[in-house]
Amino acid sequence: MGNYDKFDDLFRSKLENFKVKPPETVWANVKAEIPKPKPFYEKWSFAGGVIGTFVLLLMSSAYFFWNYSIQINPRLAEPMQQKDYLGKTSNYAKASLSDILKNNASSTNIITHTPKNPSINDANSIENANLLVNAHTSAEHFQTTPQLNTLDAPKSTSNTNLRQTTLAILNFLQELNTYRINRFNLFSDNELSSLDVSSLQQNMTFDKESNDAIPLDNASNTTESTPSPHSQALSSTTKLFLNKLENISTEQLQLDFQRPIGISTSPRISLPQMSKENRWFAGSFFQYQGTLSLSKQTASEDEVAYQQKPYFGNSYGVALGYNFSPKFGIQTEWSLNTSHGDRKEYTSTENITQNILVKNNYFNIPIMLRYRHRLNNKTKRNPIVMNHLVGFQYGYLKSSDIFVDNVVFPSDELLNRSQLGFVLGLDYDFFFNQNTSFTFGARSTFSRGINSLDQFVNSPSSSVNVLLGINASLRYSFGSNKK
């Protein structure tokens, strides 16, 4: 056989890569026989994305409507002019607070209806609003005939009422101190510092027999006739509060009370720290972003180095959202163009470097759940709201190019058209006024084989990529936003 080895080798070497151009007609026949690919909307990935999006929207909508139906208080639907719990007709829309206070001041019995902790937090109901007003009315009564220094007060049938009234005012002031002050700008900073209501309350006790309010430091000496500093402080606090309260119209108060503020089984419902209204918002955004591959990659035999290089792109579009509760909202975006890519550098054993770049343009639609938290709750300034975002993103590849040492290969038909990603984000809304805000934040999107060169170089394995970006946005919130 040895004689034929050379013979065979010569044939092999000359014919192994022998090429003959086929007739043109062959390609036309082949082309006609190739099965046509399914359009993207007929693929499972697209159908899954659409179904997932609808499920998410459905769940969010169900959550919203379920909560909304619970928040409806039938009493709120009644006309403003109505009978209060005493059967008296009140015209809250027109009456001034002072009128109500004076009218109700004559009745001491109503104090017995005051809840243990009459709170503006219970303001879901007009009745509670009345209770509060009545509590304040009694306060004014004691203010006009100062008897808050209980050591000087005669033991009368109003002692029990005095105790409850005092507690009501203290509780009310305490809450006002932490929340409502911001709403009505009632007190200046100096005045606020003087309203150390909690310490007053802690230092206050009651006479077991008379139920009179007694400051702790005077409890042991009930014969003291001079008003104690605490009593004076309480009295002045009450005066200050009532003077300020005069300036608030009843209508303004009631509007606040009628506003749905959420559901809680706790008797002390925590107040929303942001807008109590369900509001739509819309705006535009711009994002600057980079892509990282999370997959391990190794150099091939003829490479000595393989290095991933950063590549940055941007995206822009419009955003639309709805805050369906004080804490939660839903947000979607239409990223008209999202450009990002993947850049790698190979260095060979011969020290030759080759750069490969994949540039992609996507149309993205993220749908995210927002968890909102106001940061500057205790200041009078415009709100700053922190938002945590989590959701999914559907992406559609608009175009793609591969650059190998600046030689361009159109690659939009190499990558999957449809793509799903998981989105995490954090941003801050800086409100200029009730409606306009500037948003600044960061976003990360995790996708499988989002845009990577490895998607086809190491086919069919796919890699996990993360897109990190910082974004800025201008937004307009519809409706009024009470601070």
């Binding site: 014919l15 007739p23 062959v26 060979s348 086919s459």
Partner: protein
């Protein structure tokens, strides 16, 4: 190395494009590989038109099955196997019409390799195409594609002995043809 990677990237792009059903990349694949594959088809086909049929059928198989390519070996090798197998299917269909005849004559003349070296690939293809269908199939499978006699026997449903004797006969005929060419060349020089 740059060229190697360039080719690798291009090949990878073509494969991915075809998997995604891109007409542009399908045509790119055809344009890139059809001359080489047609050369293979011509070695196995009984005639030119049959080579066209094999080429067409082979490419349709490639486009339908390209997603099965796992990237383990070279893509070109994967393509060649598809076209060789397609050619064998064609051969098996026609073998009933042209049964392989056992050949006992192994009296092979020695051919000087320097003559063979002087021949161009086109000349060698011309010689192979003059062989009977069975001979050229077995010769191509063994000599050019590197199949063993056992594999050839399984592919063509013949015995290993038949494969060996057919190969020997093919070599014998080719050597005779080369010898004839040499003689014609000498005559040409004498009268030239």
């Amino acid at each position: 190395m740059g060229r190697t990677n360039h080719k690798k990237e291009k090949e990878a792009a073509i494969i991915k494009g075809c998997i995604n059903g891109s007409a542009k990349y399908q045509e790119m694949l055809y344009t890139t590989y059809s001359p080489l594959m047609f050369g293979i088809c011509l070695r196995y086909a009984k005639e030119y038109h049959q080579a066209e049929d094999i080429l067409q059928e082979g490419f349709i198989k490639v486009f339908k099955n390209i997603m099965k390519y796992r990237g383990d070996g070279s893509f070109e090798g994967w393509l060649k196997r598809i076209f060789v197998n397609t050619a064998i299917e064609h051969y098996r269909r026609s073998v009933s019409m042209y049964p392989i005849i056992e050949v006992e004559n192994n009296n092979i003349p020695t051919v000087k390799n320097n003559i063979l070296e002087s021949l161009a690939a086109e000349d060698l293809m011309g010689l192979i195409n003059k062989l009977a269908h069975g001979y050229k199939t077995i010769f191509s499978l063994y000599v050019i594609e590197g199949y063993s006699h056992k594999e050839i026997a399984q592919l063509l449903s013949i015995s290993e002995g038949t494969s060996k004797s057919q190969l020997a006969r093919a070599r014998y005929i080719l050597q005779n043809m080369i010898e004839d060419l040499r003689k014609q060349e000498k005559l040409g020089e004498a009268y030239g």
